[in-house]
């Protein structure tokens, strides 16, 4: 156990229903006793029982009516003695309870310190620690489910199996290095080649999952484009009207690209309304246009909304041509006027791969088709094969490194067979995989994992 007792507000800043102040370390109980006055006297703090009472300053001055719980080591989140106080969620109240805990002898926790203590105390593995962040940051319940699965170690298992196979292979190569005259090179080359191909397949499968994982975790960046008055805002509003489950304004966006979250059957879409995308001479407007163009360039999915009763103009025709190989859906907004047959034909010719959808933003008709089209476009596995874990940037980078090394190993066979050289690539691949699950330690890995934590976790 690390000597000091730490404390922090464990709930997000701002007003909420309740706020939780977490205290962890050998003095947790003592701190709790100093700042919590139980409703009934002679409270003995039975482990993991909730007690009603009042939070006070160490001098006995009342702060708020609260609930308190004490969880002695090792059966707590950090594996240390932990006490938690649930107070009313106002900013000031939380700060005052925290100040009381600090005054009672606790020191302020660093970001991620609770989790890193849990890690040091053997309560969770590296990828499980990482999953904790993913859960905190999860944008949808589907993402949450996948992260929870990762917390239980299924990503580890997938990667560990592949890494173990490579380790076995390394052992065989080492024998060949020590006893070259006793090695059947042809047989070893054969079995090695097979093992490397299998590992490469596994890594590629995980990489494919990485893409889906990112969609679930960060949301699909979806650019809604189209000429003015085609009904973009109506579409946006219709979407948001129907499912208001997550509507989070993203900090840092300006008014010219409005970003909203829309949950499409568990898949979070980050909708960007690029209203200003149009040639313009207005210098003020041009800035907005640049942003919109950037959003369009970065988009995972482009929804082009057109008024079906009008012919295409040159600007949109060029734009369609430029983006027709990207994940693009063309949506004809059903206005009162009939769809222009020439336009439909032109669209089909311009981008044969883009499905043509019709939608009535007013009645909401066509949403189911839209969902299916999005699924197909993003190549998501709609059959519900469970992703073994959200794969984040760190894990993805490691998978890519493993893929590179395995490709190099695979190509090795085209030239000649040298067990000693091959083992270099296999070692690199193994190292990369082992780092994902924390079976090989590297400092930058630890950095990347624990730096993502916020205060109070």
């Amino acid at each position: 156990m690390l000597g000091s007792t730490i404390t922090a507000i464990a709930t997000p800043p701002g007003s909420g229903g309740i706020g939780i102040i977490r205290i962890s370390g050998p003095q947790a109980l003592s701190v709790l006793q100093q700042i919590f006055r139980p409703g009934r006297p002679n409270c003995r703090f039975t482990p993991r029982h909730l007690y009603l009472g009042h939070a006070t300053t160490p001098d006995g001055e009342e702060i708020d009516q609260v609930m308190a719980v004490y969880m002695p080591a090792p059966h707590s989140y950090t594996g240390e003695d932990v006490a938690e106080i649930q107070c009313h969620g106002g900013y000031v109240v939380c700060q005052e309870v925290l100040a009381a805990a600090l005054a009672a002898g606790a020191s302020p926790a660093e970001p991620g310190e609770f989790t890193s203590r849990a890690f040091i105390n053997g309560k969770m593995s590296l990828d499980q620690a990482e999953a904790v962040i993913d859960i905190i940051e999860a944008k949808s319940s589907e993402a949450l489910k996948i992260s929870a699965r990762q917390l239980s170690g299924s990503l580890s298992r997938d990667i560990t199996n592949t890494a173990d196979a490579l380790l076995d292979l390394l052992a065989q190569l080492e024998v060949a290095v020590d006893y070259p005259e006793e090695t059947d090179e042809a047989a070893l080359a054969d079995s090695t080649h097979t093992a490397i191909s299998n590992a490469l397949d596994n890594v590629r499968r995980l990489l494919a999952q990485a893409r889906s994982g990112r969609y679930y975790r960060e949301g699909v960046l979806t650019a809604i484009i189209g000429p003015p008055n085609a009904g973009k805002s109506t579409l946006l509003n219709a979407l948001l009207e129907r499912e208001r489950s997550i509507v989070t304004p993203i900090a840092g966006t300006t008014r010219d690209t409005v970003e909203e979250y829309y949950l499409l059957n568990g898949l979070p879409l980050r909708l960007v309304d690029t209203a200003g995308i149009r040639d313009t001479d207005d210098p003020v407007e041009r800035f907005g246009v640049e942003r919109s163009r950037q959003a369009l360039a970065d988009a995972d999915l482009i929804l082009l909304l057109l008024d079906g009763s009008r012919p295409l103009d040159a600007f949109w025709r060029d734009l369609l041509l430029a983006h027709r190989h990207r994940p693009l859906l063309v949506i004809l907004n059903k206005s009162d006027l009939p769809v222009d047959a020439a336009t439909t034909a032109e669209l089909a010719a311009l981008c044969p791969d883009a499905p043509l959808l019709t939608l009535s933003a007013r009645t909401g008709g066509g949403m189911e088709e839209l969902r299916r089209a999005v699924w197909d476009k993003l190549l998501l596995n709609a059959s519900g094969e469970s992703l073994s874990g959200l794969i984040n940037d760190r894990q993805k980078a490691a998978l890519l490194a493993a893929e590179d090394a395995l490709i190099a190993a695979d190509q090795h066979f085209e030239l000649f067979f040298d067990a000693g050289l091959l083992s270099i690539d296999v070692q690199t691949a193994w190292q990369a995989l082992a780092e994902i699950s924390g079976r090989a330690a590297a400092e930058d890995v630890i950095d990347r994992v624990f730096q993502r934590f916020c205060l109070g976790k």
Binding site: G122, D178, I424, Q431, A441
Partner: protein
């Protein structure tokens, strides 16, 4: 009346004073004494017998896979083993020639007596070095630091640094069948007291076993029934300085055991001290006795054995692969079933020997003991096996003892710099459970640690420390310049696609013709094309072999070398994280129980070393990383 004592307790006198004293003049002791003396320190080398200096009591060969690279490292660091081998070898070969550069190594058969005489000459010519005969019995300390050594006869030598290289002599016991008696190797007396002195100082000591096969009379061997193993005739040599020694080339001979041999051994297994319990020490797995091989590989119908000459002017042949502790009559019975050995006469029977060693996790990476300042150990006392492993440790122990007196940085080699770095790191970090022998696979960066580049890896550093001559350094520089010049030439030279010599070469190699011209250097990168062939099509006079070798390797392995360097860099991140000394790891509950115990006992210097401790997993290292980080964040007491 005077009572005679086994060990003199009364006639104690001060016999001399030295900076560095070395106990034992085997391969480790010789290099240790030479290194200390080369650094200008007054050095004393103690040997139980002047006749056993630099003795090779087991096989008559130096080098082999990985070991041969160690010999070259010793040479690059200014040691003597390579040069003495070159002057006394009677056969030399390059092993694994068909394999990659990383696994190639040389092995020489030596004339054992000539080797000893030559090494003795090197020692006697070395300034600042005295050699004395006698048995060291006691290590003298003052305030926890070494102050001297006492001999059995009562002579005391004061010294500021003491290096023990006791080989298999400490409480040595020879075992053959049901017979066991105190003895050092090859009939020399054992060191009866020295390990008691180490125990009294608080060192944990263990017992290992090793063995050596019989020496047989050449006149009783029928070579016509064996397969000849001739040596290389291209002038191979271990030392980077070619002495152009004109050496004989004597063949070794290969034969093998059969079902009858195995029956003769298995029928007498009850007489084997290893299985009857007489031998208590742990033996090496990789150099097993013939009875061990039969137990472990019951399905092998044959086991190979090599007949190797012990020297030019002796009839003795060493029976490589037939180490045994079975009694002499059984040795006769099974050997005479082997083709070519039907009428064999044994000159020296095979025997096993048990001896005391010091658990090497009690050492720092300088080979100084953690317990007694100024006390160093090297060679078999550290649980290793092999002349080369011993000599390398001796050199580093001698150099570090001297460097510490000179107040200079120690010479600690990384795992990416030398096999010797791997060897010592393994010893002090992982410890030993059986005699440690160097293998290629033990070096994770083996492509960097080649036989051809030990000079590039180590010579400059040795020169700066004063361990090797300016000559050696200049020679290295000249070699590297020549390589660069030749590479520049090849990079600048273009070959046309329709060059008839090129077309012929590609046709000969069954390779597709080129449709456009190519730089010579690029052509060299292709598998199957070597520098010699390239020179032929260019009509270019080839550079000497050692230059050609560098060009071939650089062209072919460049990509892999870069990858290996990247791995080294990655590992360095952990090597550069120091761990506080005196840490009680038992309090970190996220560590596995075994890791907590091992880390507390070994007290690794950094995270990289910690990760190599057996029983410390990467998950443990991750825990230590986070723990270290939290220790560093010594946050001030809160004020809010």
């Amino acid at each position: 009346m005077t009572v005679l004592a086994d060990k003199n307790e009364s006639d104690v006198f001060i016999a001399g004073e030295y900076d560095v004293a070395v106990i034992g003049a085997g391969h480790a002791g010789c290099e240790a004494a030479l290194a200390a003396a080369r650094l200008g320190l007054s050095t004393l080398l103690l040997t139980m017998s002047m006749d056993s200096v630099a003795m090779a009591p087991c096989n008559p060969s130096i080098g082999g896979p990985a070991k041969g690279i160690i010999v070259r490292e010793i040479d690059a660091l200014g040691g003597a083993m390579a040069e003495v081998t070159d002057r006394t070898q009677i056969q030399i070969r390059l092993l694994n020639t068909g394999k990659g550069a990383a696994v190639q190594a040389m092995r020489a058969q030596i004339d054992k007596k000539a080797y000893q005489r030559d090494m003795l000459g090197v020692l006697q010519r070395q300034p600042h070095l005295d050699i004395k005969q006698g048995e060291a019995t006691d290590i003298l300390t003052t305030d926890g630091a070494v102050s001297g050594v006492r001999m059995r006869t009562g002579a005391v030598y004061h010294c500021r640094r003491l290096i023990i290289t006791s080989g298999t002599y400490m409480k040595g016991q020879v075992i053959m069948g049901s017979c066991a008696y105190p003895s050092g190797p090859a009939g020399y007396p054992p060191a009866a007291y020295l390990s008691d002195s180490l125990r009294a100082l608080g060192f944990a000591m263990g017992r290992f076993k090793t063995g050596t096969p019989a020496r047989v009379d050449k006149n009783t061997l029928d070579f016509s029934r064996m397969q000849e193993q001739p040596g290389d005739t291209s002038g191979l040599h271990f030392a980077y300085r070619d002495q152009h020694a004109d050496r004989p080339n004597i063949s070794c001979w290969l034969t093998q055991t059969n079902a009858e041999t195995h029956r003769a051994i298995l029928d007498n297994m009850d007489r084997c001290p290893l299985y009857s319990g007489l031998i208590k020490g742990v033996g090496p797995r990789y150099c097993p006795s013939i009875e061990d091989k039969l137990r472990r590989f019951p399905n092998n119908p044959h086991h190979q054995l090599f007949l190797e000459p012990e020297g030019l002017d002796t009839n003795e042949y060493y029976v490589q692969g037939m180490s045994t502790s079975l009694p002499e009559d059984v040795q006769y019975a099974f050997m005479r079933t082997i083709p070519g050995l039907e009428n064999v006469k044994i000159i020296r029977p095979a025997y096993a020997i048990e001896y005391d060693f010091l658990y090497p996790t009690q050492l720092k990476r300088t080979l100084e003991t953690k317990l007694i300042a100024g006390l160093y150990t090297a060679g078999q006392i550290n649980g290793t096996s092999g002349y080369e492993e011993a000599a390398g440790q001796g050199l580093l122990a001698g150099a570090n003892a001297a460097l510490s007196l000179l107040g200079r940085e120690p010479l600690v080699l990384g795992r990416d710099e030398a096999y010797l770095g791997v060897l010592i790191d393994d010893l002090v970090t992982k410890g030993v459970t059986e005699p440690y022998r160097m293998f290629t696979s033990l070096a994770e960066y083996r492509l960097l640690l080649r036989s051809d580049n030990a000079d590039a890896r180590l010579t400059e550093r040795a020169y700066r420390l004063g361990l090797t001559s300016e000559d050696a350094y200049r020679r290295l520089q000249a070699k590297q310049q020549a390589v660069q010049q030749e590479k520049n030439f090849l990079t600048a030279t273009a070959i046309r696609a329709d060059d008839p010599n090129l077309r012929q070469l590609l046709a000969d190699l069954a390779m597709p013709q080129l449709d456009q011209g190519i730089r010579a250097w690029e052509l060299l990168r292709r598998p199957g094309i070597n520098y010699a062939a390239l020179c032929r099509i260019l009509g270019h006079t080839p550079a000497p072999t050692e230059i050609a070798e560098q060009l071939d390797i650089e062209a072919k392995y460049d990509g892999y070398i870069k990858k290996q360097l990247a791995q080294v860099e990655r590992a360095k991140a952990l090597e550069s994280k120091p761990l506080p000394t005196g840490t009680d790891y038992t309090a970190i509950s996220g560590l596995s129980l075994e890791a907590r115990q091992k880390l507390t006992a070994i007290q690794p210097e950094n995270l990289g070393q910690a990760g190599r401790i057996t029983g410390v997993s990467p998950a443990d290292i991750a825990v230590l990383l986070v723990w270290l980080r939290q220790k560093q964040e010594q946050r001030p007491v809160s004020e809010n």
